[in-house]
């Protein structure tokens, strides 16, 4: 039997690692993967709370989060391809103008 607080602690640690990666990494793809890490951390706390209260709504919400994450990954990676095509770089420090 695992206490609920262990799951929430793991979720918090993963979320903070995701935020840290978002802040310190400069490659746009790695920044994107940090966002996925944060979404996964939130999913873990949804499932843990769902199991704690004996409710299935938590798992249904995880399903919706996954749908949003998949849509976000598709659109975001398409944006990365479009940015790379015009700038020839993946470094976010070099992508500092809105115009082409």
């Amino acid at each position: 039997m695992v206490p609920l607080s262990y799951y929430l602690g793991l979720s918090a640690i993963l979320f903070c690692l995701g935020v840290l990666g978002f802040l310190i990494r400069r490659s746009i793809i790695t920044i994107f993967m940090s966002i996925e890490l944060m979404l996964n951390a939130v999913n873990l706390s949804f499932v843990a709370f769902g199991a704690y209260w004996g409710k299935l709504e938590g798992q249904v919400f995880v399903f919706f989060v996954m749908v949003v994450a998949a849509a976000e990954a598709a659109v975001g990676l398409a944006i990365i391809i479009a940015v790379f095509r015009t700038r020839e770089t993946l470094n976010v420090d070099r992508v500092n103008l809105l115009k082409l």
Binding site: V2, A12, I13, R26, I29, E36, V47, A51, G54, I81
Partner: protein, 168 residues
Amino acid sequence: MLHLILFFIFAAVCIAAAINLLAQSHPINSALSLIVVMGSLAVLYLLLGAEFVAAIQIIVYAGAVMVLFVFVIMLLNAGTEEHTGKSYVAWFIGIPSVIALAALVVYSLLLHQGQTGNASVSSTSTIGSVQEIAKLLFGKFLLPFEVTSVLILIAIMGAVVLAKRGDN
């Protein structure tokens, strides 16, 4: 007891892979670390009795989304990350804030640890079965479910339009 041992093993794997994601300089290594994170999270979902979520975690996340990531990394021939000037706002405000947030959350969890019980389910309960989830998804949550299908459609069209080569 077995649950606790498995939890600690896979939580350790999960955190180690997440740290490796941040430490690696090549995006493909980060992507493979993220797959390890998602796989060990799927095991934790199984421990919580959420078989359906564990399955779609492997199929959708570790399968589809990460294949998309690896595909884009290889398509763009993304090399080792170059080190440009550090963002001072990120280093001197962001990182202390993240550490403060982590410390606050862990402290509050430890403070209220006695009030919360165990998050594991008994083996006889039907919680987590696909049938029960389907009843919820196509009953109570039917409208959000339909809205997500529209969202997916818009995402597909957006991805095609954005990634399309051309002047217009």
